[in-house]
């Protein structure tokens, strides 16, 4: 009698749990499809031959399909040059960002608690200033520095660590390293720079990774800054090139989507490569902030 009752409850509990799990999986799948659809539709249009009538019905894989749009983008605008400029900016800006931000974070971890708190507060205030609120004076500054229409205007923020957020990420990582390690290195006669490069950096792999990816995405995708500072076509980066493509022909959808895919692909590849660092709640940047 007793056992029967227990069996009944555990069976109903189990079926309820199963139902719950099924509902969660269905919802998750629907959401994932919703978030992936825009990218799928972009891909689908990018392999459609130019000049054919546009479909009046939903299609997933165009018939016939072609990859020639991807080549044609390079003929219509100077896409290869734009890609080279984007690469130039990111390849220089990302390592400099890593060096400057990690150095600043390391230094902030070493100074007195009082000053650390003050600097953290200042960094937070700086984080709250949106780009729109500083672009006029920054433009005037770039003009005075003679950096207008130079790719270095896009790289400049890297020399200051790019974002206070990256410095804070490094600070939070380094404060979790037991202090004796750095103390021991100092007693062994290692200078601050050697302690930073030889001990602190190797200990902060996930943070280096996270900041590298975040700053890569930032420099690669940046649209407003080149829009303000870059004037000649030969110095444009990919996002501006995409806008140029749109201005050439607003209705050539296959070509536009092929361009959009090519600008997006590197970012997605880097993200998928590093996604564990972001989305695993045991390691992600949210975690680093604790």
């Amino acid at each position: 009698m007793q056992t029967d009752l227990e069996n009944v409850t555990s069976a109903s509990v189990r079926s309820r749990r199963l139902l719950r799990s099924a509902v969660i999986h269905t919802c998750s799948l629907l959401v994932a499809v919703l978030f992936l659809l825009p990218l799928v539709w972009t891909l689908s249009m990018s392999i459609r031959p130019v000049g054919q009538l546009l479909p009046r019905q939903l299609e997933w894989i165009p018939d016939p399909s072609t990859l020639s749009n991807y080549r044609d983008v390079f003929d219509v605008v100077e896409f290869a040059r734009f890609a080279g400029n984007s690469l130039f900016v990111t390849v220089i800006a990302v390592p400099i960002t890593l060096i400057v931000a990690s150095m600043a974070g390391f230094a902030m971890a070493q100074i007195s608690r009082q000053w650390r708190l003050r600097l953290t507060a200042v960094s937070f205030v700086a984080l709250m200033i949106p780009l729109t609120a500083v672009w006029l004076p920054r433009f005037i500054m770039m003009k005075e520095l003679g950096l207008i229409d130079s790719r270095w205007s896009l790289i400049l923020p890297a020399f200051f660590g790019t974002s206070p957020f990256y410095v804070l990420l490094f600070l939070w990582t380094f404060t979790r390293v037991p202090g004796d390690i750095f103390e021991a290195a100092r007693l062994d006669g290692a200078g601050v720079f050697r302690t930073w490069a030889g001990i602190a950096l190797p200990l902060s792999g996930p943070t280096v990774m996270a900041v590298a990816v975040l700053s890569f995405v930032r420099y690669w995708s940046s649209f407003v800054e080149p829009l303000l500072y870059i004037q000649s076509v030969s110095k444009m980066t990919l996002p501006l090139g995409l806008q140029a493509l749109l201005q050439l022909d607003r209705t050539n959808w296959p070509l536009l989507m092929a361009g959009a895919v090519m600008v997006t692909a590197p970012v997605i590849i880097v993200f998928l490569f590093a996604q564990r660092t972001f989305l695993d709640d045991r390691l992600g940047p949210g975690r680093l902030g604790r």
Binding site: S28, L54, L58, T132, V263, L272, P285
Partner: protein
């Protein structure tokens, strides 16, 4: 070792932010040295119809888009908090639109929203639903830009996930044992514990909203149109400064934007504080 960072913050963030003040009282045009014109810029601003439209648009955008983004991020993080099969895939799918470059994302949506051939309307037609022309008219593009940007909520999603997984599990388990329903557990335990994180996200998203709609307004709204319907403050400031070289006027507008944001943040902070107190009373 700190010097580059500190100099950078001063030079690229704080000095530019403050430099608006003197600039707003001049007729600077980036070519000649500035002339002091007193309050003329502000006087003009008050009678500038487009400025008030843009301020209203920005305010409306904040009021609708920010709660949508933060609420969405919270719900999705609750859905995907527990690790099951496929969780990693679902989380990656949700974050993906956030890393897509703004211009590529806006361009993709310009196609998706195309009234005649766009996949969105074709899908709606296939489902037997009416097909709205979302890039035409005044209200549809406003609505479309909010939806387009609602997809890029990855940051809030990750922060909510981290905050939720930090919460002691026993607390919720205990509540369940004590007979609390899922809904009660959410309102009485999860939400109050998540509140500080949500407030920080809200404040940050209000600020981010001031620039996030710049690219969609340019691409989907076709330069802030039609009839200024998608002209938000950043776009109007950009146009005055960089198309018409009216830096002084644009600086005055930036000050008004600061003021507006400050008011919204203050209001939000007040509401958030009383909201949290309401929760502690209930305990």
């Amino acid at each position: 070792m700190l010097a580059p960072f500190l100099i950078g913050m001063l030079l690229l963030e704080f000095i530019p932010a403050i430099a608006h003040l003197p600039l707003a009282f001049t007729s600077y045009n980036a070519l000649e040295s500035p002339d002091f014109i007193g309050l003329d810029n502000f006087r003009e601003l008050i009678h500038d119809r487009v400025f008030w439209i843009a301020a209203g648009n920005s305010l409306l955008f904040i009021v609708v888009a920010v709660p949508l983004r933060i609420g969405g991020a919270m719900l999705l993080s609750l859905l995907l908090l527990e690790r099951r099969r496929g969780t990693a895939f679902y989380r990656a799918a949700i974050y993906l639109p956030t890393v897509v470059p703004d211009i590529a994302w806006a361009l993709a949506w310009l196609w998706i929203l195309n009234p005649l051939y766009g996949p969105l309307n074709l899908t709606l037609a296939w489902l037997g639903l009416p097909s709205p022309a979302l890039t035409i008219g005044e209200w549809p593009p406003r609505f479309a830009i909010i939806v387009v940007l609602a997809f890029q909520l990855g940051e809030g999603f990750v922060v909510c996930l981290a905050a939720l997984s930090d919460m002691p599990r026993d607390l919720r388990d205990q509540a369940a044992v004590d007979g609390s329903t899922g809904r009660q557990t959410f309102w009485r335990i999860t939400l109050p514990l998540l509140a500080p994180t949500l407030i920080v996200l809200l404040l940050r998203d209000v600020i981010v909203s001031l620039q996030s709609n710049f690219v969609p307004a340019l691409i989907i709204g076709r330069n802030g149109g039609p009839n200024y319907a998608t002209t938000y403050l950043p776009y109007y400031i950009y146009r005055e400064a960089f198309s018409y070289l009216r830096f002084g006027y644009a600086a005055a507008m930036t000050w008004m934007m600061f003021l507006l944001t400050g008011l919204v943040l203050l209001l939000l902070y007040r509401v958030a504080r009383s909201w949290r107190m309401g929760f502690s009373d209930a305990d």
